[in-house]
Symmetry: C2
Subunit: 219 residues, 2 copies
């Protein structure tokens, strides 16, 4: 049976591919696993039936036979460990690729999310103008370090891996805003990720949910 | 050769075990792997020699023969996958335990860190009193969900795993502050983690770095 993931019935980003189901869709496309999607309205997220799958009431979840997983990082890692295409064969190189997954989620994403949350929820507050430069600075420190490590390489550690998939996904949350402008190699890195056919198929599928138009190639 | 980890020469938490080397020390003790520690002064963290090991200039790193890893989550997972004691044998149960590692690091830790950062860096700011309840609320939502899922169980999914190690480590960052008081099952869960002999040995070793006194059992 094909695995089933959950996604927003109506994504708050209006189909820009920033919801976390996109990371899992992209991974599924990279490893060539067909999947089903169960769409959830917001009011269903905190109901018992969904909390039984995801203790924090979020998307995505992943169901495969009797296995239920939550957390996009864990789902992508599960797919990467069971199918070829997202982790190198060499054991040391695999471990390093997994380091980059954790770096994306635990070092890079938190300041990016924090900056986004401030913009969403505190833009009208009197302290916004004073706090925002501090939040931008926290993001910039990480971008500068990532840019220095990436250098002229195409991907973070040899061939494309789940570490790159997760890092590109996290950097995409910066949107078209300024932070990446100072780092042409990071902007090119993100564009390289977006140019992958698997990314394109995943993006079209999540956009089709928002527009209500089937993605190209779907009946 | 024993692996080598890096840790702060002088931890900013004064030996309370909140620095991220503690998670790796705890995992090493759980799986029974002896290790060496290289202590780093703050001024060495952003130098080229350390950035070559850790692109974000943090601790811990992990060196084992030719393998260099960074990110405590990745290091703990590496140890858990290569040694018995931190992941169940059943493949589905292993994947679920790894879900809890990612949940600890990507869902639970960010709001806890954010609350801590506000206390450290914005306590004197005029907006602190108005923002703090919002930050407390973000932490509390996650604690309530975690408490509901844990219920009367001893650990998050069957036997103790790397998922519990990481979740207890993250909850410990709340310190002795109020948030856990409302959730006696979570307070007991954290105490259960701290009571493990492996935790005790790791804690004593990191404290000994701060006090300059060898831990019990060390020469």
């Amino acid at each position: 049976m094909a695995p089933t993931i959950t996604a927003f019935e109506r994504s708050p980003d209006r189909g820009k591919g920033l919801a976390r189901d996109m990371r899992v869709r992209w991974a599924l496309e990279e490893v060539g696993v067909a999947y089903d999607v169960r769409l959830l309205p917001f009011e269903a997220m905190k109901r018992h039936a969904h909390l039984a799958l995801h203790p924090f009431g979020q998307i995505p979840t992943y169901e495969e036979d009797d296995l239920v997983l939550f957390e996009s990082g864990a789902i992508v890692l599960h797919l990467a460990q069971r199918h070829a295409g997202l982790l190198p064969k060499d054991a040391d190189a695999r471990a390093r690729a997994i380091s980059w997954m954790f770096a994306a989620l635990n070092t890079m994403e938190p300041p990016i999310i924090e900056r986004g949350m401030a913009y969403l929820f505190e833009r009208e507050k009197p302290w916004y103008a004073e706090r925002m430069p501090m939040l931008e600075q926290r993001v910039d420190v990480r971008l500068a370090q990532l840019s220095a490590r990436l250098g002229d390489a195409g991907w973070l550690d040899g061939t494309f891996s789940a570490g790159d998939l997760m890092m590109v996904s996290v950097l995409l949350r910066l949107g078209s805003s300024r932070p990446l402008d100072a780092y042409p190699n990071l902007a090119a890195y993100v564009a390289r990720g977006e140019a992958r056919p698997a990314y394109g198929r995943a993006f079209a599928d999540q956009l089709a949910v928002f527009t209500g138009t089937p993605a190209p190639g779907q009946a």
